[in-house]
């Protein structure tokens, strides 16, 4: 157990060095923050463009979910990127693969840095919303325990989906980076981060309802702001909403965990563990 923790810590330390040692602290912080703040400002710009017709409470729900989606964006894109970076930039993936650390532990350690950065940026996005865009909530009505459960389950699902993304990246060429970005954007659409899932056409809506993030974002809106955004999910009681979140999170985690090993074996079998691709 202590050896496992040591490996995890080493992977996290290495991840932090790779993430941050290319720049001075302040420069690094600016680069880290500028993208999520840009996205938050785009939402703000759209809200300003609509003007008085927009409903502030509804917008607040979308804005908060957008801040939480920072975890999904950073961890999913990041875990796929780790694979491409190690394989094609530094050409060290084969060394990591053959070392005793184990890919799963290594990826978890590297992901922990992404979690830390996502927390930092997510909080700043919320602060920007609070002070600049008027996205606020009543602290006394926040339901902390269900909110905490929803948050943890959403984060857990993100980590496990990250393993699957890393497995895919092992089999894909450099385009894995765009695919990971795309998956994050796809989830942005499919999980109704910035709109109610009710607005999605049939076919896509059914996909949304098997993803834990859909329930996670709705639960976070409900327990933090007092109301969700979806009329369909609004019919669920609190235990039902959390139950569906837990169920879909468990299924996704299981599939992603097994899926990673299948994909890793495939990459090894097809000789892609140390491929380099550039067009």
């Amino acid at each position: 157990m202590s050896a496992q923790l040591q490996r995890l810590r080493t992977a996290a330390w290495l991840g932090w060095q790779i993430e941050s040692n290319w720049a001075a602290g302040l420069t690094f912080a600016v680069y880290t923050l500028i993208r999520p703040i840009g996205t938050a400002l785009i939402l703000g710009g759209m809200y300003w463009a609509v003007g008085g017709a927009a409903r502030p409470q509804l917008f607040a729900g979308f804005y908060v979910a957008n801040a939480v989606h920072e975890y999904v964006a950073r961890v999913l894109v990041g875990m796929g990127w780790v694979v491409v970076e190690e394989r094609e930039e530094y050409e060290t993936l084969r060394l990591v693969y053959t070392s005793p650390i184990g890919m799963m532990t290594y990826l978890t350690g590297r992901a922990s840095v992404k979690f830390g950065l996502a927390t930092f940026t997510g909080l700043l996005v919320l602060l920007l919303g609070w002070f600049v865009l008027g996205v606020r909530w009543e602290w006394s009505t926040v339901r902390w325990i269900p909110l905490g459960i929803a948050f943890v389950l959403t984060l857990g699902s993100t980590l496990f989906l990250g393993f699957l993304v890393a497995g895919l990246a092992l089999n894909l060429p450099r385009i894995a980076v765009s695919m990971n970005e795309g998956l994050s954007v796809g989830l942005y659409l499919l999980c109704g981060v910035i709109f109610p899932v009710d607005l999605m056409p049939h076919g896509l809506r059914e996909i949304a309802f098997v993803l834990p993030f859909t329930y996670g974002y709705e639960a976070i809106r409900r327990f933090l702001l007092g109301e969700g955004s979806s009329a369909i999910l609004g019919r669920l009681s609190d235990p039902q909403l959390l139950g569906l979140l837990a169920l879909t999170a468990a299924v996704l985690s299981l599939v992603a965990h097994q899926g990673y090993y299948v994909l890793e074996r495939r990459a090894r079998r097809t000789g892609k563990l140390d491929q380099t691709t550039l067009f």
Partner: protein, 281 residues
């Protein structure tokens, strides 16, 4: 053979060589881009999904339908900015990481020819992929535009692309100096530029900031001009269309000249600082 004749012959040969280099780089980009089906999905489908999310946000907020069209037009052009950043700006950084950059600089052709080939290939590739966004926005989400003149649209699109990819060439030369900052800079220039160029909302919403950006970012002005062609007054354009086109032409010219000089200067600088072939930093 007179000296003038020899010089003219060499110029002609040099021009032919540059054309061939341009074609070759364009060919690699086009062939490489269709070789991996996953690449097509990554470049065509996923960016359009982000645009779809913004259309649905407008719908959820009860915005007028013209704002949905504003978001679709911006979303379609977003893929060109992504291509400029990652396919032009960061390309020389990728080449450096792969150890191929030195070959570009050792080749007898002009570097500008290579970058132009890269740009032409990028425009063709991204235009084809942007069709998916157009189909999604206008087909699936039922967004509509006013009747417009195709020639005018093509003209505005062309001047926008020239200015945009000329900016990409400037970025490419700048990135010669960069190590890992290149990747972070590309990330940093994505969403903030989307915001500053009014990608998903009328540029006029940004007030004075929007006017400043129109003078600096060809993307901002190009999107605004294309919206004016497609939506007329509903686009809430920043400046009259003719003025925007003239500014875009001016920006294109200035950026092309700037790219030529910055490439020469930064190539010399990165050689002096030993960064031209430096990898893994």
């Amino acid at each position: 053979m007179t000296t003038e004749r020899i010089a003219s012959d060499l110029n002609a040969r040099g021009f032919a060589l540059d054309l061939r280099a341009m074609y070759a780089r364009c060919y690699v980009r086009l062939v490489g881009s269709v070789r991996e089906p996953a690449w097509i999905i990554g470049d065509a489908v996923f960016p359009a999904l982000g645009m779809a999310a913004f259309v649905l946000l407008y719908r959820a907020l009860g915005a007028p339908r013209t704002l949905e069209a504003v978001a679709v037009i911006g979303g379609v052009l977003a893929s060109f900015w992504t291509n400029v950043l990652w396919g032009m700006g960061a390309q020389l950084y990728w080449e450096k990481q792969q150890g191929q950059l030195a070959l570009y600089f050792a080749a007898p052709c002009s570097r500008m020819a290579i970058l132009t080939g890269m740009a032409v290939g990028g425009i063709v590739m991204t235009s084809v992929r942007a069709l998916f966004g157009i189909a999604l926005g206008f087909g699936v989400f039922g967004v509509r535009v006013d009747p417009f003149q195709v020639g005018e649209l093509i003209g505005v699109f062309a001047v926008t692309m020239v200015a945009l990819y000329a900016m990409g060439m400037v970025l490419a030369s700048l990135f010669l100096l960069y190590g890992r900052e290149a990747w972070h800079l590309c990330n940093a220039l994505t969403e903030p530029v989307y915001f500053l160029s009014g990608m998903y909302f009328p540029l006029r919403t940004l007030g004075a900031l929007g006017s400043v950006m129109a003078g600096v970012l060809p993307l901002a002005l190009g999107i605004d001009a294309m919206r004016q062609v497609l939506l007329g007054d509903a686009a809430r354009g920043l400046l009259p269309l003719r003025t925007e086109v003239l500014i875009l032409i001016g920006l294109g010219l200035v950026l092309c000249v700037l790219a030529r000089f910055s490439l020469a200067y930064l190539e010399a600088l990165s050689k002096r600082e030993g960064k031209l072939t430096q990898r893994w930093q």
